[in-house]
């Protein structure tokens, strides 16, 4: 049974912590060293988007005298440990030794790799706290963290953990410690304390557009804030994309580029004259660079699920096809990494940041609420017009075009999210997402079918494809075709729901309610 601990931060430096504790607890309790102090190397791990932190979990790789150990703890005091077995970080959870710890992490981190979030050395001393029967009633752990950087170390952390059945005495110990000068309840967990020495906080990265706009602020300043935030997200994902740590770095980078292009297109009038036109080609170049790798990522990520659906072939027959896709992806990734290291890319981001920094409040112009309403209404109207024009006979290009307009609308809602009523906004996004999912499946299926045709021809020309693989690829194409037809068949009802009178009325009310 786990017993929660009471944690203190001790900021005093004049006397050893053990002496302070002895004075605080004596003569009622004695403080007895339980073992020799030990120094540990601690590496906290999380996904780049802090999925473990958001789920209330902390994962550490702890190295002392023995082999490195992984410790996964939750806020309720639960702990799972596993041998690290020489894992090198970044690593996917799937690459950890099998067992309860890997099982707990695999689903939560899916697609993302675990990578070091912070590092510190830690000197840990443990003491038994004994009552007048010389019975250990609580354990005291003193943890001195030494952060890697030049900043001052966090205060010593004291944890008092009651032995089962002695909670009352442990609480008394806690009260005695709390009364000591320099002793305060520890507000920061060890990871948070180490990050704080670097001016960081856990959960600092998100790909969401977390800017707080006000309805009355100048629209140009609001748009500049959004664009700056997008540039920050893009920049944060460059290193991970180049190192190919996991596929989500590229995904988030690509989304930032798309959002930037949408903001330049829909908000061009709010920016200094000519600025959008000057930068649109650069961001188009960047977006196009990311397409081949991302398309192949989408294919490979869904590959196992698609292969499992084969009817007349075995998933193993697709191995040559999978190998071909993986090789293509490696080539595309190298090309992408080269471009992201290029002078053109570096200059694009540096110049763009300079432009955004120079944005000054205009003497006159619309406020954020007015501009947001205009941009969102226009994007919404475009979706309604393009969608209404689609019939069962419409060519795929029309649906692809509608998908782009839907993305523009979605991004516009995200740019100005802080101006709107959150529940109403969530509902509008959910309704739009239903339509987007259908269009996305339709287009992904089209891309994948085309890819199969091209790759089959390449493999055949190279003469390195067994007949079983070609048959399996045919089977796969047929299944993808079936999914494509299903998505196409669902389009009419999804669009009807999105464009219903009720949904439109809700949308109008949402946009009209900015800042209210």
């Amino acid at each position: 049974m786990s017993v929660p601990s009471r944690n203190f931060a001790y900021t005093g430096t004049e006397r050893p912590v053990a002496d302070v504790v002895r004075d605080a607890l004596g003569p009622r309790f004695s403080v007895v060293p339980a073992r020799r102090s030990r120094t540990l190397r601690r590496t906290w791990l999380d996904t780049f988007d802090w999925r473990l932190h958001r789920a209330g979990l902390t994962l550490e790789c702890v190295t002392g005298h023995g082999p490195a150990e992984l410790v996964l703890s939750d806020t309720g005091g639960g702990r799972i440990t596993a041998a690290a077995n020489g894992t090198h970080w970044p690593a996917p959870a799937d690459g950890l030794p099998s067992g309860p710890l890997r099982d707990r992490l695999a689903g939560l981190t899916f697609v993302r790799a675990l990578l070091p979030a912070a590092k510190a050395a830690s000197t840990v001393s443990e003491f038994r706290l004994r009552n007048d029967d010389d019975k250990t009633v609580a354990w005291l752990t003193v943890d001195r963290l030494h952060a890697a950087g030049p900043a001052a170390d966090p205060p010593a952390r004291l944890s008092v953990t009651a032995v089962r059945g002695y909670t009352g005495q442990a609480e008394r110990i806690g009260r005695c410690l709390a009364a000591q000068p320099g002793m305060a309840a520890a507000e920061l967990a060890p990871l948070d304390a180490v990050l704080a020495t670097e001016g960081r906080v856990p959960g600092e990265y998100t790909n969401k557009i977390t800017v707080e706009l006000t309805p009355a602020m100048p629209a140009s300043m609001a748009l500049a804030a959004v664009l700056t935030r997008l540039l920050d997200t893009l920049t944060a994902n460059v290193a991970g994309t180049i190192r190919d740590i996991d596929t989500e770095f590229l995904h988030d980078l690509r989304v930032s580029v798309r959002r930037t292009r949408t903001a330049l297109k829909l908000g061009a009038g709010l920016l200094p004259p000519g600025l959008a036109d000057r930068y649109a080609p650069g961001f188009k170049w960047l977006g196009d660079l990311t397409t081949p790798t991302r398309d192949l990522d989408v294919y490979l990520l869904s590959f196992d699920a698609m292969a499992a659906g084969l009817t007349s072939a075995s998933p193993a027959d697709l191995a040559p096809f999978h190998g071909h896709l993986a090789r293509q992806r490696a080539v595309a990734q190298r090309r992408l990494a080269r471009a992201l290291r290029s002078a053109r890319f570096t200059a694009l981001l540096a110049d763009w940041r300079g432009e955004l920094t120079r944005t000054a409040p205009p003497r006159r112009g619309p406020d954020a609420a007015q501009a947001a309403a205009r941009i969102i209404r226009r994007a919404h109207r475009r979706v309604l017009i393009r969608g209404s024009a689609i019939t069962p006979e419409s060519p795929p290009e029309n649906l692809h075009d509608l998908r782009k307009r839907c993305k523009e609308l979605r991004y516009s809602l995200e740019f100005f999210a802080s101006l709107y009523d959150p529940p109403a906004l969530r509902r509008a996004v959910r309704e739009l997402k239903d339509l987007q999912d259908c269009l996305g499946t339709y287009q992904d299926c089209q891309v994948q079918q085309e890819e199969i045709r091209v790759i089959a021809a390449d493999m055949l020309a190279a003469g390195d494809v067994p007949a079983t693989a070609l048959l399996a690829m045919g089977d796969l194409a047929s299944h993808i075709g079936q999914r494509e037809r299903t998505a196409r068949g669902e389009f009419a009802s999804r669009f009807t729901a999105f464009a219903s009178q009720h949904a439109q009325a809700r949308f109008r009310a949402l946009v009209a309610g900015a800042g209210s």
Partner: protein
């Protein structure tokens, strides 16, 4: 969760010393262990420095008005908990007698602890009573210390006969020679002969050593304060045999 009862009809044969040292060794081996001190003399509680007091006494535990779980105390050793004795445990027979199916009562009370512990030791008072019947019904293995004398051997036969006559669940029995006085030829002879003659007698014999008696002074298992002593080595050897039987 497996349950081992240290039990003998006779008193003063080394039941508590065995329960305390084996539970410590089991916890040191990584098992989650509970030692239940059912003896109102509270020797096991004393050795672990836990005050022999249970809120509501034995009646509250047996009747179920107080959860067993809430009466458990942590010892000074990782993974080893103790259900302390209480002076009211002297009346456990009477309390059990007032319940339905008294023989099965202890097994039922221990059932909710299955998820929390791998191994439970029941340190029982001597005698044949309703409590011993309940203990035997709950146990997977009865670990019976015997002093190698003719009279003590009779009590082992009495125990095995009693178990053979039980309805339904019957625990396995493992006796071991305890408190061997190396100066006595009879002790040595019986301690050597018995394991060869009987499957239910462990090969390990626990000698009578002053270091084992020191447990009452140090108030800790000999396996903790003198892990390399002859006494601790003997208990380690006995634990290996017990572990092989309980799996």
């Amino acid at each position: 969760m497996r349950i081992v009862a240290t039990y003998n009809i006779k008193g003063g044969v080394g039941k508590t010393a065995a329960a305390v040292n084996l539970s410590h060794l089991a916890a040191r081996d990584g098992l989650r262990v509970l030692l239940a001190d059912l003896d109102p003399q509270a020797a096991a509680s004393y050795l672990f420095r836990v005050r022999p007091r249970v809120k509501g006494g034995g009646a509250a535990l047996i009747r179920g008005s107080r959860d067993l779980d809430k009466a458990i105390k942590g010892t000074d050793f990782e993974r080893l908990d103790l259900l302390p004795a209480d002076f009211t445990f002297r009346n456990l027979d009477l309390i059990l007698d007032a319940t339905k199916r008294p023989a099965q009562r202890l097994a039922r009370l221990l059932r909710p602890l299955r998820a929390s512990y791998d191994l439970v030791f029941l340190d029982c008072p001597p005698g044949i009573s309703l409590l011993s019947e309940s203990v035997l019904y709950a146990a997977d293995l009865v670990l019976a210390p015997i002093i190698p004398t003719t009279l003590s051997l009779r009590t082992l036969d009495q125990l095995t006969e009693f178990i053979a006559g039980m309805n339904g669940h019957r625990p396995a029995v493992l006796a071991f020679c305890s408190m061997i006085d190396r100066r006595k030829r009879l002790h040595k002879e019986i301690a050597e002969r018995l394991p060869a003659e009987r499957d239910d007698v462990a090969a390990t014999a626990i000698p009578a050593l002053s270091m084992v008696e020191r447990m009452a002074v140090d108030r800790a298992p000999v396996t903790a304060f003198a892990p390399r002593s002859a006494g601790a080595r003997a208990y380690a050897s006995l634990w290996a045999e017990v572990r092989a039987r309980v799996g």
